[in-house]
């Protein structure tokens, strides 16, 4: 019986040589072919690492992506890039601008998915950014409303999801971190996500973070996916209380390590928290992973955190089986 499968949310840190290569490539000092070679190298290393650690469902680590919205905006027709806007503090970025009708000219993630799946027998997740989040994190000069924008994006993300499924992906994750910001638009987010997942046979997952979960919780059963992945660790597992009242009719991706702290959680604390979660969810309902993408941690910290995810989960699995 499969239960308490381990996985990660998506991004993994880029090794120093790749971070340097990316910045040189941006300045035109590095041949794109050489950058591609280094991205492949880093992907290979992360897949080997995840296998060694014993992660059940692998990710490609997104070594070739920068920002989770910009990566898709750069490949879709209809998007332009703005000049700099501030994100917080002294951090600036170029925000995508929807200037024309959005079209998917070519696959955006499928080539990398095939490359990663070719390196391992374990299933590799397809990783997409959801239509509501792409809409919310872009300027829109073309579509008449936020709804029209989200629905147009849903069509192209759906094409990509279908392509991943045709290529053989058994798990497709569609991240919607923006969904929790405007709860008055939850129906739109659900409608758009429903277009993406409709008719897919692959297992569908959505990851949601940084929001007001007390308000979002009652809506979770309406999200048109098989699994909802949430951050539990950085909220000290207080979220479990919400699920004591609400019966979740979906699988749960259980974030058990905090991606914002340098400290590697102890096996004992993760085991204790998993046991708390088992009082609320059934073992076959739970997938165990870090809270969010690990890309802001160092490689060593990320490996340490993934290791404790696997070791704690194994310990709990064994107790359940004996």
């Amino acid at each position: 019986m499969s239960m308490l499968l381990t996985t990660s949310v998506g991004s993994l840190p880029k090794p120093d040589y790749l971070a340097t290569a990316r910045s040189r490539a941006r300045k035109g000092e590095l041949d794109p072919k050489e950058l591609r070679r280094l991205e492949e190298q880093a992907t290979r290393d992360w897949i080997a690492r995840q296998e060694e650690l014993g992660i059940d469902i692998i990710v490609d680590g997104e070594q070739y992506r920068g920002d989770m919205v910009a990566y898709f905006a750069e490949q879709l027709e209809g998007f332009q890039t703005s000049s700099l806007v501030r994100s917080y503090g002294n951090r600036y970025y170029r925000k995508p601008v929807i200037a024309k009708k959005i079209r998917r000219k070519r696959p955006m993630t499928i080539g990398w998915w095939k490359f990663a799946q070719g390196l391992t027998k374990r299933p590799v997740k397809g990783m997409l950014t959801g239509p509501y989040t792409i809409m919310d994190w872009s300027f829109n000069e073309y579509y008449p409303s936020r709804r029209a924008t989200a629905l147009a994006l849903a069509e192209v993300v759906r094409e990509e999801a279908k392509g991943l499924e045709r290529a053989g992906a058994q798990y497709i994750q569609i991240d919607e971190p923006a969904i929790s910001t405007r709860l008055d638009e939850i129906d739109l987010a659900i409608e758009a996500l429903g277009i993406v997942t409709k008719g897919l046979r692959a297992k569908t997952i959505t990851h949601i973070c940084y929001g007001n979960f007390q308000a979002l919780a009652p809506k979770l059963n309406r999200l048109p996916v098989d699994q909802i992945d949430l951050e539990f660790a950085n909220r000290k597992f207080e979220l479990l209380d919400a699920f004591k009242r609400l019966k979740l009719r979906k699988e749960i991706g259980l974030g058990v390590v905090d991606v914002h702290s340098h400290r590697i959680e102890s096996r004992e604390e993760v085991v204790a928290n998993l046991k708390k979660a088992l009082k609320v969810f059934k073992p076959e309902q739970i997938y165990v992973d870090p809270d969010c993408g690990l890309k802001t941690r160092t490689v060593d910290e990320a490996v340490g955190k993934l290791r404790v995810v696997v070791e704690a989960t194994r310990a709990v699995r064994e107790e359940l089986l004996n």
Partner: protein, 322 residues
């Protein structure tokens, strides 16, 4: 109709006054730049931003809040008792700020914004208004671990803001504006808020303004007609019901019409702005209306921020010339 702005302006302009602020702040953080040198950079950009507003033909200016990371931390950093904490989302935007926490009784040791106000005022012969967070927004964006009592905390903050407002008035500010975006979210306690606004504006003889932006008006335009302020700012870009609400209310205040969406790059047409002015003109005489973007322009890249300013002026000039 007088043209004005709500507050902030892009701090970087690749196609204008440059991006010096980014490297200057980094160097200041590494202690390679002194406080005075950084202040010199800020003042240089403030001067350039004021010149942009003058070139566009805006009547009543602000200093562009070039030194500000957000609406509350510039004050919270200077009020004893606050400590600046982790990143939180800035309302419903994909923008973040560091949340201040109150740990001890708050003490204001002296004027906070007066020096930067005076420096901005010296750059122009046009009126420069002073902008402060409203007491309710200040309280909602911070965390109170000292009073542990919402109404006492709110009243105390309103008193501190009142001291600052009087200091800014003494420095020559003809208009003192309080921003209250937090009123657009959740269930604000309107009676308590009216009391706090009365405290914040007590004894201020300058013109006072209360600006609402983001979220929904929640039926507050009616009770706010009793607030002791001269101008009420309404963002008609964020709440689709705002224009209807403006029409329903019996106006005792001047209206500041937030008529250009300062969170999207799409440029409004003169025709649609004129149609909006027509609607407003049926409700109150246009000499009691001023017009501005829906909120501060810093959500936009520099080029589009300037375009919005020019369009605002163009729409007013062609409307009055009809």
């Amino acid at each position: 109709m007088i043209t004005t702005v709500v507050g902030n302006f892009p701090k970087v302009a690749e196609a204008g006054f440059g991006t010096k602020v980014i490297s200057s702040i980094s160097r200041w953080q590494r202690k390679e730049l002194s406080d005075a040198e950084l202040e010199g950079v800020f003042q240089g950009i403030t001067k350039a931003v004021i010149a942009e507003h003058e070139r566009a033909g805006i009547d009543v200016l602000t200093d562009g809040q070039i030194r500000w990371e957000d609406l509350v931390t510039p004050l919270a950093k200077k009020i004893e008792g606050f400590e600046i904490n982790g990143l939180e989302r800035w309302f419903d935007n994909n923008v973040y700020y560091r949340r201040p926490i109150l740990r001890k009784a708050p003490v204001r040791r002296g004027p906070i914004l007066v020096d930067e106000y005076r420096a901005a005022k010296a750059c122009t012969s046009k009126p420069v208004k002073a902008v402060l967070p409203g007491p309710y927004t200040f309280v909602k964006l911070t965390e109170d671990r000292y009073y542990k009592n919402d109404s006492r905390f709110l009243r105390k903050i309103a008193e501190l803001l009142n001291e600052e407002a009087k200091a800014l008035e003494a420095a020559g500010a003809p208009i003192i504006q309080f921003d209250e975006p937090a009123l657009g979210f959740g269930k604000p306690p309107i009676k308590l808020i009216l009391e706090a606004i009365a405290i914040a504006t007590r004894g201020v003889k300058a013109t006072t303004a209360l600006y609402l932006y983001f979220g929904h008006l929640n039926g507050f335009l009616e009770p706010l007609q009793k607030a002791p302020v001269d101008i009420l700012g309404v963002d008609v870009a964020s709440d689709p019901q705002a224009v209807g609400a403006i029409r329903k209310v019996k106006w005792t205040k001047q209206l500041a019409l937030g008529c250009l969406d300062a969170r999207n790059t799409k440029l409004e047409s003169v025709t649609e702005l004129h149609a909006l002015f027509d609607v407003v003109a049926k409700r109150l005489p246009l000499d009691r209306v001023c017009v501005n973007p829906s909120c501060g322009l810093e959500f936009l890249p520099y080029e589009q921020a300037v375009q919005k300013l020019r369009r605002l002026v163009e729409a007013v000039q062609t409307y009055q010339g009809r």
